[in-house]
């Protein structure tokens, strides 16, 4: 397809515009030979300003979306809505920013809006997934939920953010990985539907951590070696001795604080925590598959979303896993996905097997 070059000094290219219907067709090409063109087409279709996104590659081969006629039926059109609960606990709260509306000056609203955009961009531009349901579902978030509410969650329909208690948490919307984590719960709901307890629940959490990390890395243009692999970096107050909620690279090292205690995540199946708390430790045992994913991305190098991310996304959408899958079944499915996408003799297949070996999980169907 003709892809007129866009000069970085020309804000409005004068070259001919690829018509939207053609962009849409290119965007859905699944042939690996056209992956860059398909990616670029999806980026062009995305109704998101790319100024704040630094993918580190600077390749904008297609004209920006703002020059195209409105095509609301085209896949990949984001629709965001941010609500303000105003310190109460009723949802959704008051609509304070709809898609395309200007900033209101509320930092939480800005961060949530941008974070939803970044998450949408990862799923659409890299995985060709049109919102969490792959059918243009509106992305909604509520901020200022409750008073000093020290949490953020996905309620089945929207993300909800407290402001933090000011003692441990300083807010949640500032973390791209947290926003991505919450939205990814929605993606899991529409795909494997992992039941939120015990091992399937830990997989649910794991998927959210993986795609939360990838949202951050994709937005910042970080490769696997440069990335922090932290979830929720920057949401703790200065009083907390810790970097983040969790580390995919080194589970159990994210924090060590006299109030929070030490990050309890295991990094190997031998450390699996049996508990009645936390729905069977879903936020704890997620560390085990998290480290496996990091290992795959780290050994392959480059951008984690390109290969490791694709393998995991294929696994999520491949329909081979039921809602009560355990670690072993999930691992086997990732192996199958790697083979299907990259071949049996590929370094990707090898990296996936090695990743699960590292954490002591045996892929079994």
């Amino acid at each position: 397809m003709p892809q007129p070059p866009v000069s970085p000094h020309t804000p409005h290219p004068v070259c001919s515009i690829v018509p939207p219907f053609l962009l849409a067709r290119i965007a859905t090409l699944d042939d690996p030979r056209f992956e860059r063109a398909a990616h670029a087409a999806r980026r062009s279709l995305t109704d998101i300003s790319h100024e704040h996104l630094d993918h580190g590659r600077g390749d904008h081969g297609l004209p920006p979306r703002s020059l195209r006629p409105d095509q609301p039926s085209v896949r990949g059109t984001i629709s965001r809505a941010i609500f303000d609960a105003q310190g109460a606990e009723t949802l959704p709260g008051v609509l304070v920013r709809a898609e395309g509306a200007p900033e209101t000056g509320d930092v939480s609203v800005i961060e949530a809006y941008d974070g939803l955009g970044s998450t949408f961009a990862l799923f659409w531009e890299v995985f060709a997934r049109d919102s969490i349901d792959d059918h243009s579902a509106p992305l909604e978030a509520t901020v200022h939920y409750g008073k000093l509410y020290d949490n953020a969650f996905w309620d089945g329909r929207r993300m909800v953010f407290g402001d933090g208690d000011g003692e441990i948490f300083d807010g949640f919307t500032r973390s791209l990985s947290v926003i991505g984590h919450e939205l990814a719960h929605g993606v899991t709901e529409f795909t494997t539907g992992f039941v939120y307890r015990d091992q399937s629940g830990a997989l649910n959490e794991h998927v959210s951590d993986v795609f939360g990390a990838l949202v951050e890395q994709y937005t910042l243009g970080q490769n696997a070696a440069d990335a922090s692999w932290l979830i929720g970096e920057g949401i703790f107050t200065d009083e907390v001795e810790g970097n983040a909620l969790r580390s995919l690279k080194a589970p159990g090292t994210a924090y060590n604080d006299d109030v929070l205690g030490k990050d309890p995540q295991p990094d190997h199946l031998d450390g699996y925590i049996k508990t009645l708390d936390d729905n069977g430790g879903v936020h704890l045992n997620s560390g085990i598959p998290n480290r496996a994913f990091w290992s795959v991305a780290d050994s392959l190098g480059g951008y984690a979303w390109e290969r490791a991310g694709h393998i995991w996304y294929d696994t999520l959408t491949g329909r081979s896993l039921g809602p009560r899958a355990d670690f072993s079944r999930f691992a086997a499915a990732t192996v199958d996905s790697a083979v299907a996408r990259f071949g049996s003799d590929s370094p990707e297949h090898e990296a996936v097997r090695a990743g699960w070996t590292l954490v002591g999980i045996n892929p079994t169907r």
């Binding site: 008073k147 969650f153 996905w154 003692e167 959490e205 909620l245 009645l276 729905n279 936020h283």
Partner: protein, 134 residues
């Protein structure tokens, strides 16, 4: 009479605990009234919501598990009272090494995770419980 409240789940998945000895409170009658009106034998429907909290409340011989969404009305009032009454404590190790803190000042304790099987009778004295007085 002692009331213990545990909150687990949330983004971090950690457990925190608050407790009060009712007779040591300035208004024990209000506490007893509240405790008496609570539906201890009801089992709230448990649906797991990602990253929400789950509360476990014990007032011997009763114990219930309540997801955040269902922590409303008198249950919410009880938990808020317990949290407000509990003095901040230093962290303590639970039996399996998971630190437990209590007395957190945040007023908005409305986190839920919903357990799919509501098993208050099994909770009893689970091994991951710090027991005894603090």
């Amino acid at each position: 009479m002692k009331i213990l409240v545990w909150r687990s789940g949330g983004l971090l998945g950690r457990r925190v605990e608050w407790d009060v000895v009712v007779d040591e409170q300035p208004d024990p009658e209000q506490w007893y009234l509240l405790i008496a009106e609570l539906p201890w034998d009801e089992r709230p429907a448990v649906i797991a919501t990602p990253d929400r909290y789950t509360y476990r409340i014990r007032c011997d011989p009763h114990e219930v598990v309540i997801p955040e969404q269902q922590l409303t009305g008198p249950w919410r009032e009880l938990v808020d009272r317990v949290r407000d009454a509990d003095t901040p404590k230093r962290h303590q190790e639970s039996e399996h090494g998971e630190p437990v803190t209590s007395g957190e000042p945040d007023e908005n304790d409305k986190s839920d995770e919903r357990d799919e099987r509501d098993e208050p009778s099994d909770l009893g004295e689970p091994t991951d419980e710090p027991g005894g007085e603090r």
